[in-house]
């Protein structure tokens, strides 16, 4: 019996062509967290200067340190004849290609599915595009933030009767990237455990988030009622799912959505004996009074006092944390959620640890996201046997 692999995706090689700004970079990062050899390919000279000023330190894109972690970074111009040749050699020796370069771009450079499949029939080719490979909108442009709008998320995010807002994370991009990771796992499983072959996976950027929003389609088609924004309240105005400001200026959310947690929410806030809220129907009639009581009760207490009161009655609730709250939190530390990585650009940096916890194959954060081409010598030497002299020539010709 051969020894089991130490990590889930050990020995699986992924060529990652997902652009650095996209939240879908999580596809490669997730697989790399759990052992895959993910080779991130940047075009020589790209990306240009990091534009998102707030997330930049000394010219370094901070967010990419997390997005690109555990990946080996090389440069390659996939459009030049020598680059095509090198890419095809890499493809022959890989399991997965994942790309979001835009419709027809790979084909234009000679990397169509028929060619790649002939080089490697076991290849899994994930085509992540804005609107998918076909359909009337295929020539329109989308990214994760606009994707949140098209997927149906923004419609339900915001205050009542106000402009729809969005969060600061690339939700559609992240969900698409995780969906790609799941799909790669499924395609690998079918190929290797079921005697299958390689295949193409076609996914539009917004489709996974659209698929996840369980309130989008069926409730509308069965009731005829369109979804809308209701701030922190629910559409029917129930006040036992809400969020309020504390005495110390923080926010606390509770969710008494079930019969038991509704009771626990009331107990926590000392309103159980109040006749206005004696049972669910009565409390619903008096929902504005319930809301005002809860808001006033929270405002009189610090976040610790509120959290303690809810814990005492097993309420489903939590403070609205920011990074500062989380980074030193005893629970987060106990779960090993904050890891420190030594980075050549920044020195020691703290970032998120591994999620989830696999009992047999725990995964590892080995290094942070690298500069383009950091591992050219290592990867081209190890996989294609290129010498330092050959690499110099390729560099001089702007191929790598």
């Amino acid at each position: 019996m051969p020894q089991p692999k130490q990590q889930i995706f050990e020995g699986v090689r992924v060529l990652d062509l997902v652009s650095r700004e996209s939240g879908a970079t999580i596809a490669g990062a997730y697989l790399a967290d759990f052992g895959a050899d993910v080779i991130k390919i940047d075009k020589p000279g790209e990306p240009g200067p990091a534009l998102d000023a707030h997330y930049v330190k000394n010219g370094i894109d901070l967010q990419y340190k997390v997005k690109g972690r555990n990946k080996r970074h090389i440069t390659l111009d996939l459009s030049k004849p020598q680059g095509v040749d090198l890419f095809h050699k890499l493809v022959a020796d890989s399991d997965v290609v994942v790309e979001n370069l835009g419709l027809g771009v790979m084909e234009g450079w000679g990397h169509d599915w028929e060619t790649l499949r002939s080089l490697n029939p076991r290849l899994i080719f994930v085509r992540l595009s804005d609107y998918g490979q076909d359909g009337p909108y295929k020539n329109r442009r989308l990214d994760g933030f606009a994707g949140d709008a098209f997927a149906g998320f923004c419609q339900v995010d915001g205050e009542r009767d106000a402009t729809p807002v969005d969060s600061q994370m690339d939700m559609a991009g992240h969900v698409a990237g995780m969906w790609a990771a799941m799909s790669i796992g499924l395609a690998l499983y079918w190929r290797d455990a079921r005697g299958g072959v390689g295949q193409v996976v076609d996914m539009a950027l917004y489709e996974p988030l659209y698929r996840l929003i369980q309130t989008n389609i069926t409730p509308y088609t069965s009731s005829g009622k369109a979804d809308m924004r209701y701030g922190n309240r629910r559409d029917n105005g129930i006040p036992w799912v809400d969020s309020h400001e504390t005495k110390d200026g923080r926010h606390y959310s509770y969710s008494g959505a079930t019969r038991a947690t509704y009771r626990d929410t009331q107990l926590a806030m000392g309103m159980f004996r109040d006749p206005r809220f004696k049972d669910l129907p009565t409390a619903f009639v008096n929902r504005e009074a319930f809301h005002d009581y809860a808001a006033a009760w929270t405002k009189e207490r610090t976040i610790e006092e509120v959290d303690e009161a809810f814990f005492a009655f097993e309420g489903a609730s939590a403070p609205c944390n920011n990074a500062e709250d989380l980074i030193n939190d005893p629970h987060e530390l106990a779960r090993e959620h904050i890891v420190t990585v030594d980075d050549p650009d920044l020195g020691p940096v703290r970032m998120q640890g591994l999620v989830p916890k696999f009992s047999r194959t725990p995964g590892k954060v080995r290094w942070a996201g690298e500069q383009p081409g950091t591992r050219n010598a290592e990867v081209y030497g190890e996989l294609l046997g290129l010498t330092a002299k050959e690499l110099d020539e390729l560099r001089a010709a702007d191929v790598i």
């Binding site: 692999k5 999580i26 000023a53 009337p136 098209f150 290797d192 299958g196 659209y210």
Partner: protein, 404 residues
């Protein structure tokens, strides 16, 4: 081969779903799209609370939100707290590949289903334990639902207006993201078991609060390196001036976004601002965020949504309308991509149940949608008698005793 005759990636994999409401049941539902056989276990007296919560029980069929969460499954009942149920459940575990649940961490052990027991019954079993805060650490015993994950994991803090409260949306983002991470983890554990020489199942311990915390990539490192918390920014984005949502002449909303030099060039060209030195470099525009917002808002206010969409497509600028369920249901692109499927109602209503199609499109192993959510206990005979070899008389006794 047609889609109907092609193989499915998870054919022959059986998952038992003891989940309730959303995060647990959605996890197995995602995998059922790709051929996994899922058996959903519900309490015989109450059923999964989602049936009541999404407006079915006693309220007619107001909003069948649970169908998308529980499609493709077989539904059985089992009162997990009863001693006889333990035996039946363990029998079910011997013929299954994975089990998922989303109770607090102590609940399964209390019923006699701790990891060591399950592992000894069936060493190949994968146990996906989706609790609120994970099965270790000081907050492990606390309750959490989707909104609690959004609060704790740092997401509510970065959602909402700058001067408003931390905000939740009307959609169960925390729960459904947890289910995507859970499903992905199960696929990974299957791959390790059957392909990577593992041979055995494993325990997956994932807190509902954890995927979101991991997903917000910027939050920890930006604070660690700059001492500043990432904060909510309404319709805009803190890191770039080139993201916003504007209202059109016909009262729709349109969201645009640009993060690369190419995308910024195309956006400015669509808005007719290519030559405008107030906005045509990142640095200049970042200094005049409000002015740029007002200029963009005025541009959209003069155009219908259709006009805005046409101009954006022409200039290859990135943007999309804010879509409601109604808009999506009527959209030609959604239809062309097979993103809507229509299923017969298992409860006999003539009106079909419409829901999302299959994502993504696999060329060799396309997924399939088989059925909407079956009624409570509809598959008891099929599973108990057909799969576990319980006789019909025994099943009748178990039902009379309230075990099934």
């Amino acid at each position: 081969m047609t889609t109907e005759t092609k193989p499915q990636a998870l054919e022959g994999i059986r998952i038992v779903d003891v989940g309730h409401v959303l995060a647990g049941p959605m996890t197995s539902s995602l995998l059922s799209d790709f051929g996994a056989e899922v058996i959903h276990v519900e309490n015989p007296e109450t059923g999964d609370f989602i049936r009541e919560l999404t407006g079915a029980a006693g309220q007619g069929r107001a909003s069948r939100g649970y169908d998308i969460i529980n499609r493709n499954k077989r539904n059985i009942t089992l009162n997990m707290g009863k001693p006889k149920a333990r035996e039946l459940f363990h029998k079910l575990m011997t013929v299954s590949d994975a089990v998922t649940e989303n109770f607090r961490p102590y609940v399964f052990p209390r019923w006699g289903h701790d990891w060591d027991t399950l592992h000894s019954i069936n060493p190949r079993l994968i146990y996906c334990k989706l609790s609120g805060y994970g099965a270790t650490g000081p907050r492990q015993h606390r309750r959490a639902y989707g909104r609690i994950a959004e609060a704790w994991g740092g997401w509510a803090y970065i959602n909402g207006n700058e001067d408003g409260p931390a905000l939740h949306s009307g959609y169960s983002w925390g729960d459904t993201l947890d289910s995507l991470w859970g499903a992905t983890a199960i696929v990974g554990a299957l791959f390790w078991r059957d392909v990577q020489g593992g041979g055995e199942g494993m325990l997956i311990d994932q807190g509902l609060v954890e995927p979101l915390f991991r997903a917000i990539e910027q939050q920890v490192i930006v604070y660690d390196q700059t001492g500043v918390n990432v904060k909510r920014f309404g319709t805009r984005h803190e890191a770039t001036p080139y993201v916003d949502t504007c209202q059109t002449k016909d009262d729709r909303y349109f969201r645009f976004s640009a993060w690369t030099e190419d995308a910024i060039r195309n956006l400015l060209s669509a808005l007719g601002l290519s030559q405008d030195s107030r906005f045509n470099t990142f640095e200049a525009c970042a200094q005049r965020r409000d002015e740029f917002s007002q200029t963009a808002q005025a541009w959209f206010k003069q155009r219908t949504l259709a006009e805005a969409e046409e101009t954006f497509e022409k200039h290859q600028a990135i943007g999309a309308p804010v879509m409601s369920g109604e808009d999506l249901f009527h959209d030609p692109h959604i239809k062309a991509r097979d993103m809507l499927v229509s299923l017969p109602d298992p409860e006999g209503d003539e009106k079909p149940i419409v829901m999302q199609g299959i994502v993504p499109k696999f060329s060799e192993t396309p997924g399939r949608v088989r059925n909407a959510c079956h009624p409570l206990g509809a598959d008891n005979e099929d599973v108990y008698c057909g799969l576990l070899g319980v006789s019909r008389d025994e099943l009748a006794d178990l039902m009379a005793e309230g075990v099934v």
